[in-house]
Each structure stands twice: as structure tokens, then as C-alpha cells.
Amino acid sequence: MTMAHSEAGTDLNATALERSARNEQLRLLSLCAPALLLIGIVALAPMGWLSGLSFVGKDGLTFANYERLLHPSYQLTLMSTFQLAFVVTAICLALGYPLAYLTAQMRPRAAGLVLLCVLFPFWTSLLVRTYAWLVILQRKGIVNTWLENLGLIDEPLRLVYNFTGTTIGMVHVMLPFMVLPLYAAMKSISPDYLQAAASLGAPPVKAFWQVFVPQSIPGVIAGLIVVFVLSLGFYVTPALLGGGKVMMWSMQVERAMEVYADWGAASALGVVLLVMTIGVLWLISRLVGIGSLIERD
């Protein structure tokens, strides 16, 4: 006791302990270094370079690369990019919500089977699926053949190499990204709430809209964000199923790069896409709070 009192003013080992605690934390953080270096150098640093390059023309600093984007053809691309992203997101929600809703109510085994079906496209190559849609939707494809045999149409419908085909293909790609967060959110809603609502006299439809839907909103938002952001920058499906008639912003980037080898134009296009993506994320994070976006994983 007397010993302790004589040292009351000093904090034993405080400096050494603080240093050792900090070192331990830094050692833990340094485990991220390889991943951070790889992603930082290969994926993130070029984004900065891209931004810089977009302001460089033949004669030094210039806005020429951006001024060119004011051309009406780019405005059309911008429109169709957003249009496709909107339509795809809306259809995914309309199809994904009922599926997730029903699956969340199923017994575990049945739900597992449905989720397996939802995940199946996830695991199969995107190109395989795109090829399948070409087979199904083309002029002499299954859909047209069947419709003709049934006598519903006289001549083949144009289902692919246009906006319709692209939308169908994109919905197929994006639907799992919508269903999974919805399912996770709905699974965590306790059925007690609906029972309580029913016992209080709410008819089923009313209980659904007033009790269930509000609680599923976090899942809806997560699904909407993922699908919309992914759709905005998507390349493969529109490039193959659009048949050149659907021009997406990502395809303009690719064209500037591959066809014209114009790094400046490609950079400017890329920066605009990046800004659009970040803008959408920022807008949604302002609406629902950044926390809920990051805690998702």
C-alpha cells in the first residue's frame, strides 16, 4: 500500500504499454498491406491517372476531351444508359421481391433449393448465359418458333439485337443481386409482427403493406443500389445482345480505346462514368446514411 502510494503520481509502464498496444494494432493492419498495395496500384491508382489524362490533349492541358462529350450522340448514349439501368432495376425489383418474399417463408430445405436456383446463374459463365439468350431470342429461336406454331404471330418478333433483348439478358444477370439482399432482409423479419398485426385486425394485404414492406426496406435499398450501379457500367451483355443498336456508356469507353486508340477521349468518358457511379452511390448514401452501405458486407 505504502509502495503504491509513493508512486501515485507516476503511471507504471504507461509509455511502454502504449507503444506495444500501438505496435500490435499496426502489425494487424499491416496484414492488409499486400491486398492494399495490389488493389491500390493495379485498380485505384490508374483511376487517378485516368482523371489526369482526360485533361491532356495534343497541346497541353485542355478541356477538349470533355467538350467533345457535349455532342448529341453522347447525350443519346447517356440517356440510353440510364434508361436501361432504370428499366432493369425496376424489373428486377418487381420479379425479385415476390420471389424473395415467398422463399423467406419456405421451410429451410425448399428455400435452400430456390436459393440454389437463384445462385445457379451466379456460378455459370456470363458468356454462356448470353449465348443461351441469343439462341432463345433470335429470329428463328425457340420463342419465335413456338409462337409461330401456336399461330399467335405471323412473322418473327424482333427480340434480340435491340433494347428488348438487352433488357432480358441484363435482368437475367442482375436478378440474383436483387434477390439475395432482399431474402437476407426478409428472413430477419419476425413473423410475430405480422401475427400481431393480424391479431389487431389488419387484413392480410394491409398487414403486408403496413408491417412487412417497411421492414424489408433495407434489403430493397441494398438490392437497388447494387443492381443500378452494376447496370450503369455493364458492358458484356449490351455489347452482345444489343447488336450495336443499344449504345451504353461503357461501350463508348471501349470504342474510344479499341477503335480509335484515343486515350484522352477514353479517359474523359471513363471519368464521367466514374463520376456517375460515385454520384449515384453518394446520392443514395445521403438518403439512407453511409453506414448502412458499408456495414452491408
Partner: protein, 369 residues
Amino acid sequence: MTSEAGRGGAASLPITIRRLTKHYGKFTALDHIDLEIKSGEFITLLGPSGSGKTTLLMMLGGFVQPDAGSIRFGDQEVVLLPPHKRGIGMVFQNYALFPHMNVAANLAYPLKLRGCRRDEIADRVAKALELVELAGYGERGVHQLSGGQKQRVALARAIIFEPRILLMDEPLSALDKNLREKMQLEIRRLHDRLGLTSVYVTHDQREALTMSDRIAVLNRGRLVQLDQPRDLYEQPTSRFIADFIGETHCVPVEVREGQALLFGKTLQLDRPLRSTAPAQSLALRPEKLHLLGCDVPPQLNVIEGKLRQHVFQGDSIVSYVTLADGREIAVRRSQGFGERTPEPGDKVRIGIAPRDTIIVPDDEPTAPT
């Protein structure tokens, strides 16, 4: 019950904790803890949840770093050592047996880390299993064991490499009452046999009273009292301890010129008062009180009240008595009354021997160590 310090021999070490402090933001988890644990002693850290008892244990284990302070095992300062260099055995609340290994592999794990030879490992595993009465269970999977068996394997694993110190974090809280009481005695027996310095964390005061050589009671990050179980029970130094250990009813007393007054009457005391604060409490243990007949032995302190109710509890009868200020206290007797049983509503007198008349200050002083 008490094991003499040092009886554990060369294997065990004393622990000296000095000015150990830990803050989480504004929350003070531990506030300048000083504690000396003798070699071979079984000491229990007791306290309500959030008192800092587990934090203190984790610091001894090296899993939580204090902001400041010193921990010595014997002469060695260990506060900066990582857990694996401290040579401590540890038992966790959920046993933390490795599910991907069988019982024998769990026990062999610390020995393998120390580079023991294979035949030596087999030998020591067999011995350890015997020690915890699980001979022949080596090939069992961890999932095939009952709660009590898991507990024993966890214990065996913690001592198989002959650590100098054994730490236990509420190891029995997951067991049912009967098994828990059996294991309490078993752990204590094992401790006495091996003579390890043991630090045991629990929130169960009964468990602490049963098992420990000494009990350190923590509250809000501070060490409030450090004593042998009997002293802790019979001579609490604060209102907190009196309330926390055993069943207690507190009645306020007035303290004037070194005298304690209850409803204006001076109480006879065995010991001088600990504090001079004017408002303190009389801590009454039900089993130390006597319902009195007509004749009052002069050496007893007497409280008057009105009997409210008798409650039969099998091995005893508890009588609830309402005092003049409306407070209620309980009196426990193991037998019924001789001649006349007081009825509810009767005026009764309660006697307390001076040595059981405990006056505690209402505030919580830091423990004198």
C-alpha cells in the same frame, strides 16, 4: 480449506499486481488495482457484471493490455509479454475446446508446441486424463462429451504443460446447479493437489465463498475488499459488500461521537467503527438474528418491530418483521418455537449479538490492502 502459501512448491509463482489501470474511452474498466497473490493461493475475483473482474483476468492472461500498471509473476515483469510467453493455463467459460481435434489431440496441443517427444506426449496425456477421471476418453470427439466432461478436458488441457499459474473465467457458469457444486469441489481438490497459483473469476458469491483462499471483490473497476471468505462474510467493510455477499437487510443508523445509534438507542459493538460518517447502515444477516421471548439477555442489542409473516422454507423458517420506520427485515431460524409462536401482527423483539452487529459506511471506500 486454506492452503498455506508456498505449499505448491517450485512450480507455482506469486503474482504482484500494481496500479493496473484500463480505460475504454470514458469508461474506467480498472482503476489503479493493487493486488498481491501468494504462491499457491486460490484467489477469486468476485463482482457484478461490468466490475472489471474479467478484464483483470484477461490482463493476467495477456489478452487485454492495460493503459498502465505492472504485473509480476514472481520476479518477472510480464505486463509487456504476449500471452504465449507467459506460461499460464487458462480455462474459458465456454471451454473453448478445439472442435477439429479429439480429446487427446486437444491435450497434446500445448505439449506439441513445446516440442515434446511423441511417447512423452502420449504418457502425459494419459496421466492428465486420469487426473480428471477421464481415462480412456482420448479418442472421443469433443462433441461427444457432456458439459462436465468438456469442463474437465479444458481443465486438463490448461494444466498438462505444468503452467505456473492457472486462470479460470467463470468456468462453471454453463453447468447445472448439482454438477456445478460437484465441480467446485473437484477444481479445488485439483488445485490443492497441484499447488498452482489460481485466479478464478465468478459472479456467484456462493461459489467464491466455497472455493477460495481469499476473495477480491471488485466494483466499478475498483478493488473494494480483499479478505478470506469468512471475514468477507462476517465483517464486510462497506455497504456494497454487505449487500453483495449473502442475504442482508440494511437499516440506517446515526453515528455520533464514536457511537452508533439505532432509533435513538446506542448499539453495543465488538469493534470500533470504521468510519466517522454520521449516516451509516446496520447490516443484518437473517441467520444472525434471534426472535426473543419475554426475557432479554442483557448482552444483546434489541430491535422492536411487528411480525408480518412466517415463511416456511423446508430447512428453516423465515419471519418478516416490520420496524418502526416501515422497513422490513428477515429473521431465519432452523427450528420452530418452543412455547409460544408469535402470530402475524404481534409485537416482537429481535436480538443481535454485539459481534454480529455490523456497521458499514454507506459510501464505498477503497480496500485497505
